[in-house]
Amino acid sequence: MSALIEAVALEKRYPGGLGREGTLALAGLSLAIDADRPQIIAVVGESGSGKTTLARLLLGLAEPSSGEVLYRGVDLRRLGRGERLAFRRDVQAVFQDPYGVYNPFYRVDHVLWTPIRRFRLARSRAAARELIDAALRAVGLRPEEILGRFPHQLSGGQRQRVMVARALLLRPKLIVADEPVSMVDASLRATILGSLRQLRDEHGISVLYITHDLATAYQVSDAILVLYRAHVVEAGAIEPVVSAPQHPYTQLLISAIPRAEAARSWLADEEETRRPQHAPDGAGCCFAERCKLAMPACLAAPPGLYRTEPGRVVACVQYRDRPTLPAGALGETLSLEFDGGTAARAAVQGE
């Protein structure tokens, strides 16, 4: 049994220019997404954490500096013609920026008709139009208000929903959704995220939900990967990670979410998180400079990925007495496996 998509010790380094040091965007991340067990995996982190790099690598839009991405066991860089077409249909993308994806000279209909023609999804124009209408309605749009218009005539939220509709048209196995709702209202966010869940439950589509919004990730996801500056700092089943975060960065992320409650401690709690407490030198833990709990050991060497409980790994020295995920040749290997979509169990894959 091979996974639909598998990342093996994936690393991406962007070269620096003019004598400047390069940037490590992703450090040895491994992950398998199974076609048979649809799941929603959230990838959460701040801007610059490597979330979008991960998406681009999994989609074959960027080449890893080391490690590989496998589609049904074959390296993306070695896919044959037919395999590549199948990959392009099976794995769909919804990007962060709903402005850049449109050609301003074409009506928005163009992005919906193109996949229908390219993948021969409909036998007639009428059937195609029906598919388009259904997809638009599924994301909360009125086809008559969208079709025939130019991208600049739609709001950012509408444009983004058209992109989700476009991905739906192809009935893919996996949707890589990079911040799909960050430009959409809270009320519609629920609708779109609800339809992601519907995709998983009714159509067996897995979703890699890349976001900086931990609250929505909690609502829809089965598993979560928390990234900080190119590193996985915590990963596991969603419920334990969010209700009892173990990594100081995950704890910070959760405490920074403004809650709709009468108690107003949000702004007051901000004070202590503002200033870096330790100079970054790149040698130790990626989070040490902002960590309240940082100790000398944190600055000396990067922590391993420790298995704190079944289905949970944390990269923090607090847990160094727990079993360490054996590092592969190029970094840690982590695979999330799921039983029935809810109970999670992290299995170690030796390299």
Binding site: L193, L214, Y218, I257, L267, R274
Partner: protein, 317 residues
């Protein structure tokens, strides 16, 4: 009671559209006390950004302010001439527009952009004095002096947004209107920027109008919240009351649409779609999406009523 710094009464803004008149802001009234933090919440298209712009008379054709009045420190804004309104902007009421961090001039250093604001408002400052004020402003928003010599691309999103706040407060305005100032930022940076805004506002004694759709952010930041739907204010109340006891069904739906961190699967959207402003439903504009709607809601538009400390436009409240 102190005199309000800003009074908006019966404000109406409409946009001419080939298929008719779009009433983006319809009969909106509220007041802002000095130093108060007022929130304007609603879905996109509810008119909250248009309302913010119309306070500064920044509506461009085909949009038009059709009626109503905005008073700043008791004086009607409509009576100001072009020069007067230009002085009001930034010096009296500063706007941090939506996506403002992307509107910084990419080829001008941050310091020069702040100096521009001084020069544009007739402040003749010597180089030393300008530098000193720029340094003080940057310190006020928690940015190091070195930022003055940097270009926007050298700054992170949070730093850019703080630079925008620095520009907004450079003439010590009485009102700061911030339109979704943190919508593009992650939560940790969002909290830093909002804390900066809160601190700056307190130092200045300025009032803030925060426009946004995140009720969680509103709950933690504003004193009073106005909820907009289809161009109208449907509920205005102190934030604690709104969170504890939202009276308008739409307010309840907005709060319920917020993803909870306590209960999974509790994510509920608001059923249906926001109405097209070209074709508003009869009666209460929210009735097609409201589970409680009665025949009266379908036929008669609810007027704003005072109930306790709240102003609510709902027959059932």
């Amino acid at each position: 009671m102190t005199a309000p710094v800003l009074e908006v009464s019966g404000l109406r803004v409409a946009f001419a559209h080939p298929r008719g008149l779009v009433r983006a802001v319809d009969d909106v009234s509220f007041t802002l006390a000095p130093g108060e933090r007022f929130g304007l919440a609603g879905e996109s298209g509810s008119g909250k950004s248009t309302l913010a712009l119309s306070i500064l008379r920044m509506i461009k054709p085909p949009g038009r302010i059709e009626g109503g009045e905005v008073r700043f420190l008791g004086k009607p804004v409509a009576a100001l001439d072009e020069e007067g309104i230009r002085q009001l902007r930034l010096a009296g009421i500063a706007l941090v527009p939506q996506g403002s961090m992307n509107s910084l001039n990419p080829v001008l250093r941050i310091g020069a952009q702040i100096a521009d604001a001084f020069a544009d408002h007739g402040l003749r400052l010597g180089r030393r004095e300008a530098d000193e004020r720029i340094t003080a402003l940057l310190a006020e928003v928690g940015l190091p002096t070195s930022v003055a010599r940097m270009y926007p691309h050298e700054l992170s999103g949070g730093m850019k947004q703080r630079a925008c706040i620095a520009i907004a407060i450079c003439l010590r305005p009485k009102v700061i209107i911030a339109d979704e100032p943190t919508s593009a930022l992650d939560v940790v940076v969002q909290r830093q920027v909002m804390a900066t805004l809160a601190r700056v506002q307190q130092d200045l004694g300025a009032a803030v109008i925060l426009v946004g759709h995140d009720i969680g952010l509103m709950a933690q930041f504003v004193d009073r919240l106005g909820v907009m739907y289809a161009g109208r204010l449907v509920e205005v109340a102190p934030i604690g009351d709104i969170i504890a006891r939202p009276r308008h069904p739409y307010t309840r739906a907005l709060i319920a649409a917020l993803p909870s961190l306590e209960r999974r699967g509790a994510l509920t959207g608001i059923p249906g779609l926001a109405p097209s402003l070209l074709d508003l439903p009869e009666g209460c504009a929210f009735h097609p999406r409201c589970a409680l709607a009665t025949a009266r809601c379908r036929g008669e538009r609810p007027a704003v009523r005072q109930i306790g400390g709240a102003a609510v436009a709902c027959h059932l409240a």
